[in-house]
């Protein structure tokens, strides 16, 4: 077991950071918006091979996860989780991207649909890969910091490529890994942004950062972000269904805490679009309900450890630690 990055991983991280340094702010025209999809970043990551790094020989889940996690620290949005972590694990052939992952009611607003070229639909019994016709999509205004849109009319699923029922579990597993990586990265950025603000903002003659009440809550946020990161990377490395469920559970159950505390310590500024905080917090807020939400992930965690409802005594062989 080794937590330090190896040479290849360090090179991947340095490479993606070099690209991201040019995407740390939004154009003035979008500065006060809800979200900004950075096509330039999307293009740069794709051109340099970071979005299909999981299909590259010698690379795998950890490298893909590191890219997703790092990209999620930027205030701009880019579709990367489904491309880098989900698609390589459910389809041998490349899937046109950006990708919109859909579960539940097809006609509700969906994350990334306005920019997507493909929708991957989890019907529960099958996984459908459907080309997205941009003319059939309307953008939906949302406080979530991702582009959201909905289909104008039900897409023709007869044209879908059907990946089969066996693909449902890996789709959910890797979507959970992807969301945990995105949550970890966005939480890290929101916490760092907030710590920086508390060091500058003065109140009653001291900076906010000097108050222990502020210390403790941001320290709690920090340990949550570290835990989500560690679980997400381990789940990406192992390709284990249980580990993906743990990562998603831990990420999604803690979103409210980190969102509330980071906004609280940015005070009134944090609820204005002039401040950048919402570009991170309302991305991880949007992930709270994905892939069944925290309850779904926690229930799957329980099923995987103790058997489904109605199961008999605990099968000790399923209960593993370490």
């Amino acid at each position: 077991m080794q937590f330090q990055l190896d040479e290849n991983q360090a090179a991947v991280l340095a490479g993606v950071q070099a690209i991201l340094q040019h995407h740390q702010d939004l154009p003035a025209s979008h500065r006060r918006g809800w979200s900004y999809y950075d096509m330039g970043l999307d293009d740069a990551l794709a051109r340099n091979g970071y979005l299909d790094i999981g299909r590259t020989e010698g690379m795998g889940g950890v490298e893909s996860a590191l890219v997703v996690l790092e990209a999620a620290k930027a205030p701009v949005a880019v579709e990367i989780g489904a491309s880098a972590l989900v698609a390589p694990h459910i389809s041998a052939s490349e899937i046109p991207r950006p990708i919109c992952l859909i579960r539940g009611d097809l006609m509700k607003a969906q994350r990334f649909l306005p920019v997507a070229r493909t929708a991957i639909i989890d019907t529960g019994d099958d996984v459908l890969v459907v080309p997205v016709d941009p003319a059939n999509v309307e953008a939906v205004e949302s406080i979530f910091a991702y582009p959201f849109g909905r289909f104008k009319s039900r897409p023709d699923l007869a044209k879908a490529v059907r990946l089969g029922k066996a693909t449902v579990a890996p789709l959910r597993q890797w979507a959970r890994v992807a969301l945990a990586c995105e949550v970890a990265g966005a939480m890290r950025a929101a916490i760092d942004f907030t710590v920086d603000y508390t060091k500058q903002r003065k109140m009653f003659g001291s900076t906010l950062a000097a108050y222990q009440a502020v210390h403790h809550r941001l320290a709690e946020c920090h340990l949550i972000a570290e835990g989500v990161r560690a679980l997400a990377l381990k789940a990406a490395w192992s390709g284990d269904e249980s580990e993906a469920a743990w990562a998603a559970t831990y990420a999604q159950m803690n979103i409210q805490k980190v969102l509330f505390d980071t906004h609280q310590f940015n005070g009134g500024m944090g609820v204005t679009n002039e401040h950048k905080l919402h570009f991170w917090t309302y991305r991880f807020r949007a992930l709270q309900a994905e892939v069944g939400g925290q309850s779904g992930a926690a229930l799957d965690t329980a099923d995987l450890r103790w058997g489904p409802p109605g199961a008999g005594a605990i099968d000790r062989a399923r209960v593993r630690v370490g």
Binding site: M1, V195, Q212, H215, H222, Q294, A313, V321
Partner: protein, 379 residues
């Protein structure tokens, strides 16, 4: 970055679990239910730890010259996980093996090492820690117990509180004031049979054996009892607490306890409730986060990465898992602390003080804020 166990580590885990399965008696769990500080468990561990020592499984990470196996930190943690999976048959020995022993290796004289390390490595001696006092728990600098130079040695007067296992301990790792200034504190290695040392156990919410008062009434100890330099106890404590803060693998005990609770809920036909199942799933996620963060601490130790807050992050994450599990027990199996299930009660009562002992929860958060987030000292 990769998370695979090496074959050596897998083999080591099998060796430990195989030994425990073979050597622990059938009635071990009856002893275990009495509690870590109970007479039954301590008597048992005095017999069992020498067997572990003979098998090379008590101090695997210690250098060979001190009776260890010269192993690495991973082996210490794998061993800890496996023994906790079996309810920690070492009893209080983990304290001597994991914290006091390494501190003696770092700061002890050759005579002290010769005398004490062999005793710890044999598994026959029980140590306790004399740190806290009524007015000096988290704020150890406020301690009042004094050790005054009497021309030949030291005379100790004062009282320690919350000293786990001291009723049956052979030695105490004692912190005492040797000067009037706040940081003039020294560490002494004191034989519990020394005249003037008196232990008074008293009841409380934590499991039996954890709450003891230790009185020092004109206790004369030799100069050779001083560990390290006089007045430099603070440096020694920083070293010791660094080991202690990683602490025992609460995540293993927690997951094992949760399995026992789920087993009971299943037997009672109550574990199909999705609210209960999701609550249990969330606790698993907390303990698994603590697990991987613990491994990150071990990795930092092996790579000599110092000064990070990963140990603090790990400790709080594990404590949060314990708190949520305690709450789960009160939601679904409250009779566990009313004679309903001794295993669950043992966990519940042992964890009551887990956010206070070995660096209070808030002290850990201060460390994370200051050293991890670069925030100024709080007010």
């Amino acid at each position: 970055m990769e998370f695979a166990w090496s074959q050596t580590h897998l083999d080591y885990r099998s060796r430990v679990s195989g030994f425990l399965e073979k050597e622990l008696p059938e009635d071990w769990f009856e002893t275990h239910q009495k509690g870590l500080g109970s007479k039954e468990q301590i008597d048992f561990s005095r017999d069992f730890c020498p067997k572990l020592a003979d098998a090379g499984l008590l101090t695997p990470q210690w250098p060979k010259e001190y009776g260890g196996e010269g192993g690495e930190a991973w082996e210490q943690f794998i061993l800890a996980e496996e023994v906790w999976r079996w309810g920690e048959p070492r009893g209080p020995q983990y304290m001597g093996v994991n914290w006091i022993g390494p501190t003696l290796m770092r700061f002890g004289t050759e005579d002290q090492k010769d005398r004490h390390l062999k005793g710890i490595a044999s598994g026959k001696l029980v140590w306790s820690q004399g740190f806290s006092e009524p007015q000096a728990g988290t704020d150890l600098g406020a301690m009042q117990t004094k050790a005054e130079w009497n021309g030949q040695g030291y005379t100790v007067n004062g009282m320690k509180l919350w000293t786990s296992y001291s009723e049956r301990a052979d030695w105490i790792f004692l912190l005492a004031r040797t000067g009037p200034e706040r940081k003039q504190i020294s560490v002494f290695l004191v034989d519990m049979k020394t005249p003037g040392v008196k232990v008074v156990p008293f009841p409380g919410l934590p499991e039996y054996g954890h709450l003891n008062e230790v009185y020092f009434d004109n206790v004369h100890i030799p100069a050779s009892a001083l560990l390290g330099e006089e007045h430099k106890g603070w440096d020694i404590m920083a070293f010791t607490l660094n080991f202690e803060r990683v602490g025992l693998p609460r995540y293993i005990w927690g997951l094992r306890t949760l399995d026992i609770a789920v087993e009971q809920l299943k037997a009672e036909g109550r574990f199909d409730d999705p609210i209960c199942r999701a609550a249990a799933g969330r606790i698993v996620a907390r303990f698994e986060a603590a697990t991987v963060l613990t491994y990150a601490v071990v990795d930092e130790r092996i790579n000599d990465i110092q000064g990070t807050v990963t140990p603090n992050v790990q400790r709080i994450t594990a404590a949060n898992g314990c708190l949520e599990l305690m709450n789960f027990l009160m939601d679904y199996l409250p009779d566990c602390v009313a004679g309903g299930n001794n295993f669950l009660e043992l966990f519940y009562r042992a964890q009551i003080a887990s956010t206070i002992a070995a660096g209070a929860y808030e002290i850990q958060l201060d460390a994370i804020a200051q050293r991890g987030l670069g925030m100024p000292r709080g007010r």
